[in-house]
Symmetry: C2
Subunit: 236 residues, 2 copies
DNA sequence: GCACACTGTGTGCGCCGTACGCAGACCATA
DNA sequence: TATGGTCTGCGTACGGCGCACACAGTGTGC
């Protein structure tokens, strides 16, 4: 255990509440999650671009370089922000079937992304290892508990839903920013996608219904249908 | 048509080869796609971080500010880079079924992402409107030509595959960078995901097979299974 | 051929992330 | 408790970024 601690980056050690041996220098004034919360506040208000080391420090009444006591680089700050932004996953009723559980999970996930759209712009260099991220992972995997899926199946199915939510959120993110953006896009697309070179796009545009309200759940159902087939295949 | 041109950002006008009325000042020395090619060269070599206005300009033997003749802001450069990086989609054998066509499309898409991993880090603010991006879109939509899917169905199914390829590429991107990264991750995950708090993750880790080779096509098949069900439903 | 309008570009600014080095706090020892 | 050595937190400062601005200079229209 002791040896293992050394292998973890400092930020993760702090997020997991592992105490380090006493060291010289001033005691930490607060917990790293307060830094994360301040950064999240800035990002919610002004987008990811509004998050800089100096702004976060100022938000806390700190000097810029003080942050480097908790964090080794800007990327570490992102890790803390993500953990802070998602929070604990909503509890899922385990008496429901896997499909309902995963739907609820996906909806909660999307809600979190709507609350914190900047999450989609955070550059990701590592798979998740922070506590709350693992909570979310655990919740999704647990939905498959009653199925015959292999460990790999469960993991990839979870990632499939994860990817779906992130992807759709990314596509719709800019539309929510200002209304009319999708209309403008439609106009431009109609102008550029001429029937001679882009017959299929042009034909599609003519018959398009501009009602996106159910798009999320409809698309999710398609994904879940695919997973359902996998489950049935494994049951045999 | 004339009026429409005005509505398009300058970069797109250039990408589409629309000539603007003669203007004062020096004639353009070259086409905007050469700028894109230079930027792509830099990004391929040193990641997206290696792409800056001054570096791109230097690559072309130019001063920094000269680029702003072609491009209004850094974001415009990204648009050109994406168009340049993807290139024309590989032609797809239209005698094949939709499923085979889409599989081929997805594989080509993924290959492009492997060749230009930085694409996944490019911040996206707008849906695609550049010529080659529309070519890719057209190719994917055409695969559904023989089906009874509605225009909305085709669009969302295409986006589903698109999202899937991007998402999986993102997840595996960092693993390809240095071998052993996934092992390190596995060790850390095993250390953190203790059975008491994360029983499902821990149990899954024990039974995990570390062979990712077929993950891409397997997951893609799950997605396509979902779409197939949609197609069958529409056929009724 | 001339004047004007408008574009392309050099200078310079504000901001970023963080390398570096020193002041000073902690712990071990006496 | 006094003191020395060690190691840490953080202020200063740097290189690089995207691009605002103003002006130089070209091409156009009369």
């Amino acid at each position: 255990m002791e040896k293992h601690e050394v292998e973890l980056p400092r930020v993760l050690q702090q997020l997991w509440g592992w105490e380090q041996p006493a060291r010289p220098g001033p005691k930490p004034t607060f917990h790293i999650s307060e830094i994360g919360a301040a950064a999240v506040r800035l990002a919610d208000a002004g987008g990811l671009g509004a998050v800089s080391m100096s702004k976060v420090a100022a938000e806390l009444g700190f000097t810029t370089m003080s942050l480097y006591r908790y964090v080794e680089a800007k990327d570490d700050l992102y890790v803390v922000m993500l953990d802070e932004a998602f929070g604990k996953p909503a509890p899922v009723d385990e008496s429901l079937g896997w499909r309902e559980q995963l739907t609820a999970w996906a909806v909660h996930f999307r809600d979190a992304l709507v609350r914190h759209p900047w999450v989609l712009q955070v550059p990701v260099f590592e798979p998740p290892l922070s506590p709350q991220q693992l909570d979310w992972m655990e919740a999704a995997l647990r939905a498959f508990a009653g199925t015959q899926l292999t460990a790999n199946d469960k993991l990839s199915s979870m990632m499939l839903v994860n990817i779906y939510v992130r992807g759709t959120a990314q596509l719709t993110a800019h539309l929510d920013l200002d209304d009319g953006a999708d209309q403008l896009y439609g106009q431009r697309l109609a102008m550029l996608a001429t029937p001679d070179r882009y017959p299929t796009i042009a034909a599609g545009l003519a018959n398009l219904e501009i009602d996106y309200t159910d798009d999320f759940t409809d698309g999710l159902d398609v994904v879940l249908d695919g997973i359902e087939q996998l489950i049935e295949r494994r049951n045999k």
